[in-house]
Amino acid sequence: MIEVKNLTKQFGSKTAVDDLSFSVEQGEVLGFLGPNGAGKSTTMRVITGFIPATSGEVEICGIPIAKQPESAKRKIGYLPESAPLYEDMTVAGFLRFCASIRGFSGVARNEAVDRVIETCFLQTVVHQSIDTLSKGYRHRTCLAQSLLHDPEVLVLDEPTDGLDPNQKHEVRKLIRELGKKKTIIFSTHILEEVEASCTRAMIIDQGRIVAEGTPESLRNEGSGSITELFRKLTTSDVAA
C-alpha cells in the first residue's frame, strides 16, 4: 500500500505539492486527476523516491522511502511521464538490463522478460532498436519494465498517453486486471479513463486535493459528469 502523510514539495519559492495526505490500499486503483502543473508528476516522483519531499512522509508497504529507499523501491514499478528509454538498446536488451537491476539473472531473467513482453504486446518489436519505435510502443516498453519484478505497488504517470484507442483499451484492461491484487496509482488527463479503470479518484489542483471519492460519487458531485466537476473545481482556481 501507499501512505502519503502531509507531503509538501517546494521548488525554490514555488510550492508544487501542498500538505497532501492520502493512502491507497492493496486492491485499489487510484486515479490521479488534475490540470497541467497541478503537482501530479511531482507527487509521483516523491512517492517513487526520485526526488525528496520538502516535508512530510511517504511509506510504501510500511517502508519509509526517504529512510530506506532501496527496500521501498523494490516494491514499486514506475512508469515516468515521458516514458524515458535507452535509445541505443533493443527492446529485449533494455528489458534484460532492467531485469538485471531488479535482481533477476539467468533463466529467471529471461522468464520475467518474456512475461512482460507478452503482457504488454511487444512480441513484434522485441529485437527492434528503441529509437525506431513509435510512441505507443515506447510507452508500452516502459510500462513493461515497470512490471518486470511483479511489484506490489504500481505508479503510472499517464500510462495511456500516445496510445491509439485499441492500445488504450488494452492498457486500461490491464490496469483493471492488475489492480485486483496490487496497489495502483495512475495519473491521467482523460476523464473517462477514471470511470473505466479506477476504484477511486482524486482531483488535485495547485498541489492540493480538491475532490476525492469513487468515480460514481465524483460523477454525482459534478451533476452527472466528472468532466463538469473537474472544470468547476480547477477552472475556478485559474480564474482566482
Partner: protein
C-alpha cells in the same frame, strides 16, 4: 594536497560503504555502458582517431621519429604524447555517460530502481575505463614494433602503460563529474578537455622550468603546488619505469574525488 587526497578517498569509501553495495548492479550498468559504446558508430570513429593519433605522433612527429632515433625505449616517443592525447580522448569516451541519462530522462528511471547512486557512478566509470583499456591494448602494435626492431626494456613499457591507464582513468573521472552537471555532451567535452589539458600543462617541464627559474619564492612555491596537482610528474615517473606509492595515491585520490563529486552532484540535483 595529500590531505585533500586522503579526504577524497575517505569520502568515496564512506559513500561506498554507506549501504549494501550490490556488485550485480554495478556489473549490469557496466555491461550496458560497454554494449552501448560498441553499438554506436561514434565509438569506432573515436577509437580509430585515437589509434591514428598515437601512431602518427610516435612515428611521424618531425625530429622525434621513433624509427630514426634508433632507440627501443618508448618513454620519449610513444608515452611522451599519451597524457596529451588522453586529455582529448578520455572526455570524448566519457561524455555520454551521465549527460545522456539526463538528456533522455533515463536518470528518472534508473534513480527509481533499487540502485544506489554510487553504484551507478562506479558502473559508468568502469564502463568507460574498460573501453580506454581496450584502446590502449590496440596501441601495443608500437610495443611489438620496437620489440621486433630492437631489444627494449619491457619493465618501463609496462609501467608506462600503467601510467597511461591511471592518467586516462583520472581524466575519465573528471569528464564524468562534468557530465553529471550538464545534459549536453558538447558542453561536457568543452569543459572537461580544458580541465584535463590544464592538469597536463601545469606539470609540463617547460612550465615547471619557468616557475623554477624565476628565482621568486612565491613563483617557485606556485610551481610546486601546480606540480602536485598535475598528472605529469606522476606519469613521467611511470614512463621511466618508476612506480611510486605517492603517485599511485595521487591517481587514486583524483579518481576518488571526482567520483565522490559526481555522486554528490547527482544526489543534490534531485532535490
Amino acid at each position: 594536497m595529500s590531505v585533500i587526497g586522503i579526504f577524497a578517498i575517505l569520502l568515496l569509501t564512506a559513500a561506498l560503504i554507506g549501504g549494501p553495495l550490490l556488485i550485480a548492479n554495478i556489473r549490469a550498468i557496466f555491461c550496458r555502458e560497454v554494449n552501448s559504446f560498441f553499438t554506436s558508430p561514434l565509438a569506432y570513429v573515436l577509437m580509430f582517431i585515437f589509434l591514428v593519433a598515437v601512431n602518427a605522433l610516435t612515428f611521424l612527429w618531425p625530429g622525434r621519429e621513433l624509427v630514426e632515433s634508433e632507440q627501443a625505449a618508448l618513454k620519449d616517443f610513444f608515452f611522451f604524447y599519451h597524457p596529451w592525447i588522453l586529455a582529448f580522448y578520455a572526455p570524448l569516451l566519457a561524455m555520454r555517460t551521465l549527460a545522456d541519462e539526463h538528456r533522455q530522462g533515463t536518470i528518472e528511471l534508473i534513480s527509481t530502481m533499487p540502485v544506489r547512486t554510487i553504484e551507478l557512478v562506479c558502473g559508468k566509470f568502469l564502463g568507460s575505463f574498460i573501453v580506454l583499456f581496450a584502446s590502449l591494448l590496440f596501441t601495443a602494435s608500437v610495443w611489438i614494433t620496437v620489440s621486433i626492431l630492437g631489444d627494449p626494456d619491457h619493465g618501463p613499457i609496462i609501467a608506462g602503460y600503467l601510467g597511461s591507464l591511471f592518467v586516462g582513468g583520472a581524466f575519465i573521472a573528471v569528464a564524468i563529474a562534468v557530465s553529471a552537471v550538464t545534459r549536453s555532451q558538447v558542453i561536457c567535452v568543452a569543459v572537461s578537455i580544458p580541465i584535463c589539458l590544464l592538469l597536463c600543462i601545469v606539470g609540463f617541464d617547460p612550465v615547471q622550468n619557468f616557475f623554477a627559474d624565476s628565482g621568486v619564492g612565491f613563483l617557485s612555491f606556485t610551481g610546486e603546488l601546480l606540480a602536485s596537482i598535475s598528472v605529469m610528474p606522476a606519469f613521467v615517473d611511470f614512463s621511466k619505469g618508476l612506480i611510486e606509492i605517492r603517485y599511485l595515491f595521487y591517481f587514486v585520490s583524483v579518481i576518488a574525488l571526482c567520483l565522490f563529486i559526481t555522486n554528490t552532484v547527482l544526489q543534490s540535483k534531485r532535490s
